[in-house]
Amino acid sequence: MNSIKTILFILQRAPYGNSATREALDAALAAAAFEQNVQILFADDGVWNLLPEQDASSINNKDTSKMLQALDYYDISDVFVDEISLQERGISATQCAIAAKTIGGETLKQLIKTADCVIAL
């Protein structure tokens, strides 16, 4: 594994009710551990993952916003959030638990276009 690829993970599912975000993060962190250039885009219901102070203990689950803190330890700094998805759900970018760059329009298209591999889970 000596070449480096840009891998964009698109997380588009809500934090609870399914395991999509948790398992997608597992895959993203593994790719980062193998020194790939990992990018993460939160879109659609995936933006709910970014809300801070989630209390998942009542459903015996883990707080996804806390799991996102791990991105820093893996040097994943290219974290983006789709601005339309935020607007549609009445969430402001300043509310997000981690620093995610708001992205939309042409820039969003370019992000997807320039990635070597896109994995949407």
Binding site: M1, A27, Q36, D116, A120
Partner: protein, 116 residues
């Protein structure tokens, strides 16, 4: 072209696994190669050795097994996803492995397709 397939679709409940199988067969028969099949999330059920289907129904896990054996395809099941779902006994051509092999497949393939 070298394809890597990320299969997250469970057999029977969804169509995705069958579609992935048909894609893989079509790719090979058209002269392309499969870098790796990576079974992830609910897709781990495709590798189960314990699936029994009625005679008049398609046994997709058995079909994967036969395809991998006949075409010498590299196929693995994600260990963390599999163990959580009780998949410890997989078909012989589809061993359990780590997520590092997904990264490895992404690096070496020309295209990665997700079937969910």
């Amino acid at each position: 072209m070298k394809f890597a397939l990320l299969i997250t679709a469970t057999p029977f409940s969804t169509q995705g696994a069958e579609t992935a199988l048909r894609f893989a067969r079509a790719a090979v028969s058209n002269g392309h190669s499969i870098e790796r099949l990576f079974f992830f999330r609910d897709g781990v059920h495709n590798a189960s050795a314990l699936v029994v289907t009625p005679q008049d129904e398609n046994n997709i896990p058995a079909e994967w097994q036969q395809f991998c054996e006949a075409q010498k395809i590299d196929a693995v099941v994600c260990v963390s996803a599999a163990l959580k779902r009780g998949i410890t006994d997989t078909n012989t051509n589809i061993p359990i492995a780590g997520l590092g092999l997904l990264t490895d497949a992404i690096i070496n393939a020309d295209r990665v397709l997700t079937f969910g």
